[in-house]
């Protein structure tokens, strides 16, 4: 796939060229949206919205990582989706602290607030991870999804989220720590290697 040529054609209004790019990136965008939103159908909506807005604003792409640029459109679409959900709140999955503020102590996650029923539902690793991702503030979640799940480097994450590099670093570190705390509650589900490593520690 000659990506630069396809992008150039798409920028000239060639929808077929753009759709080739869509097919190449739709899994990545969908997974990003899925991990940020934690819901299949919302993720699909956000992905579609992301591609539509990507096509319309394609001329604003001035080189660099196209994937990072696409990730920005999908994170924006996810934020829009989350704003919509906030306007029409459904049953909250997770109780949030009253101030909805960033709490520095990792201990706030000690209480994972999972009912036994929820734990039963999250008896698969994927569910557990998603549960822990959902428990993160959305800005942290976005950074960790882009960096650790999509494998973007810091600068790409920074350009995708328009967050300064330093903030990316800090948020990623905290998010990883919080996820670690959260995932400890699902010790049985964690991969053997992960557990062994833990156990190997004194």
């Amino acid at each position: 796939m000659d990506e630069p040529a396809l992008i150039l054609d798409a920028q000239r209004g060639d929808l077929d060229a753009f759709n080739t790019l869509v097919l190449a990136y739709q899994d990545a965008l969908y997974n990003t949206a899925l991990r940020i939103l934690g819901d299949d159908s919302h993720a699909a909506d956000a992905t579609q919205d992301a591609f539509i807005s990507a096509f319309r604003s394609l001329n604003s792409f001035r080189g660099g990582s196209f994937k990072a640029w696409l990730m920005r459109t999908v994170t924006n679409a996810c934020y829009d989706e989350l704003r919509r959900q906030k306007r029409r709140p459904t049953v909250p999955l997770e109780p949030t602290n009253d101030d909805d503020e960033e709490i520095d102590s990792p201990r706030w996650l000690a209480d994972s607030s999972m009912s036994p029923e929820q734990k039963f539902e999250a008896d698969e690793l994927e569910h557990a991870i998603q549960h822990c991702l959902d428990a993160l503030p959305v800005d942290f979640r976005t950074v960790v999804v882009l960096a650790d799940i999509q494998g973007l480097d810091y600068s790409e994450v920074a350009s995708s989220t328009r967050i300064p590099l330093g903030t990316i670093k800090s948020r990623l570190a905290r998010a990883r720590l919080r996820l670690r705390e959260c995932l400890q509650g699902f010790g049985e589900l964690l991969p053997a290697a992960f557990r062994l490593e833990r156990e190997s520690l004194p």
Binding site: D16, Q26, L29, F51, K169, S170, E197
Partner: protein, 479 residues
């Protein structure tokens, strides 16, 4: 072991991602060797990262490729499209303005014209009628039955010339109102074939005769302009539509895309264009086959000076010459009758001659180059033919004012006749000829034209049709 800070956390996290400089990395690695807490933190963060990376990548539940509609793509509009669209809009607006002007003008004229006949009692219905235009035209002729409307009735009642039943065929004044308001007053085709003539089989008027003068309709804007505008609107709209749909088809074809089906707006446009085209076709056909006349004005003209009424006097206050059905049985009035002709229009005048039968004069358009008053007067100025059978009741003199000259094109004289006349010539209608006084002798009326015209004789109805080219003295004659 020193307590770890968030700065340490960030350093370890960045180290994990290889984002530290060599110096920073070396320093951190040194510390990792000694600091248990650091090592634990590194393990936890890398474990967390590993778990996240172990998340299975899900396949997209469907393809998120964009359709042209989703992409907001629209085929380019052809450059000429707005021009044609604008032309169509302008032509449509102008058409409706012209239409309104043409409607309101003649409608007012029709209302004015329909007022006077009310004074004539039975003749009042002549103001206008839409459903049966020829009948409306004949309506004032009371006992003379409308030929088309009551052809069956005529056969049954020919022997009993009762005015009342025949009158039922004539429209009532109220019938005419909607049509008059619609701006399409009494009309009568000018084409000879389409001209309504008095059915000779029916009894001629016994009780009342009100000659009819039809005033050609003067439209404020010519009809051809009106329908030209409609045609322009239709053609430009259709052109705009074709241009656009062709460019859309090409656009989709070059992109190998499925064109979206015709949307509702497109269908509406097609239907509107089709309707306008239909209206245009009907209008053109109608205009081309029809001559419009203003509401008929009933102007009875009688030989008796006291009963005579001029055209100018034909106002509502003139009620003297009204002849009502009560006069049934009285001999028909017959006297000079005139009509004023404008160039460019065809005219028909029905004249009840002293015999009680109808004689019809029909002039094609431009028979006279100027406005001319055509008059028929019963009787002759000269001695009638000295031999053969002369039907003096069927003698008349034709004249024209002010030109006085002969018509420039042949005109038609149609004479209805009855059984009695036929008996006189022993049933041989071919013996009947119309002769014209040349100044020195009586000659066949047909010979006034070059080449000489033939006489058309029909037996049902009993009618002789002559074509003449001169004015002067005419008499029906059987050698």
């Amino acid at each position: 072991m020193t307590p770890t800070t968030f700065h340490d956390l960030e350093l370890i996290s960045a180290y994990l991602d290889g984002q530290l400089s060599k110096v920073e990395s070396a320093r951190l690695e040194e510390r990792l060797k000694t600091d248990e807490g650091y090592r634990q933190l590194l393990d936890e963060l890398s474990g967390s990262r590993r778990v996240l990376r172990s998340l299975p990548a899900r396949r997209a539940p469907r393809n998120f490729t964009l359709t042209p509609k989703m992409a907001g793509l629209k085929p380019p509009v052809p450059r000429a499209f707005p021009v044609f669209r604008l032309a169509s809009v302008f032509a449509t607006v102008l058409f409706f303005l012209v239409f309104a002007a043409n409607i309101s003008g003649p409608a007012m004229a029709a209302i004015r014209a329909s007022a006077p006949p009310i004074a004539f009692g039975m003749g009042g219905g002549g103001g206008g009628d839409g459903s049966e235009p020829p009948a409306a035209n004949l309506a004032p002729m009371a006992a003379a039955p409308a030929p088309e409307a009551t052809s069956a009735a005529s056969e049954n009642q020919a022997a009993t010339p009762e005015a009342a039943p025949l009158l039922q065929a004539a429209p009532t004044p109220t019938d005419g109102i909607p049509f008059a308001e619609a701006g399409l007053p009494t009309e009568m085709p000018a084409a000879p074939g389409a001209t309504a003539k008095i059915a000779p089989g029916a009894q001629p008027a016994q009780d009342q005769y009100t000659p009819t003068e039809r005033i050609p309709l003067q439209l404020p804007v010519p009809a051809w302009l009106q329908f030209g505008l409609l045609g322009l609107a239709v053609i430009s709209a259709a052109t705009a539509y074709v241009l656009r749909s062709r460019s859309e088809t090409n656009w989709f074809k070059t992109r190998a895309l499925q064109p979206a089906g015709p949307d509702r707006r497109q269908l509406l446009v097609i239907v509107l264009i089709a309707l306008a085209a239909l209206a245009l076709a009907v209008s053109v056909w109608w205009v081309s086959t029809t001559t419009f006349y203003a509401a008929a004005q009933q102007v009875p003209v009688f030989a008796d000076k006291s009963m005579r009424m001029t055209e100018q006097a034909a106002q509502p206050d003139v009620s003297g010459p009204v002849v009502t059905g009560a006069d049934k049985g009285a001999p028909p009035y017959s006297g000079p009758q005139s009509m004023t002709m404008q160039p460019g229009m065809g005219y028909v005048m029905n004249w009840l001659d002293p015999s009680g039968f109808m004689t019809t004069f029909e002039f094609p358009a431009n028979a006279f180059p100027l406005e001319t008053t055509f008059t028929v007067t019963p009787g002759l100025d000269v001695e009638s033919p000295s031999t053969g059978m002369v039907f003096t009741a069927r003698a008349f003199k034709l004249s024209a004012e002010p030109a006085g000259g002969d018509p420039q094109v042949p005109f038609t004289i149609s004479m209805d006749y009855g059984d009695q006349l036929l008996v006189n010539v022993e049933g041989d209608a071919s013996r009947l000829v119309l002769v014209w006084w040349s100044g020195s002798e009586w000659v066949d009326a047909g010979s006034t034209c070059s080449p000489a015209s033939e006489t058309i004789r029909t037996s049902e109805p009993k009618r002789l049709q002559f074509t003449a080219c001169k004015l002067g003295n005419f008499v029906l004659y059987a050698p």
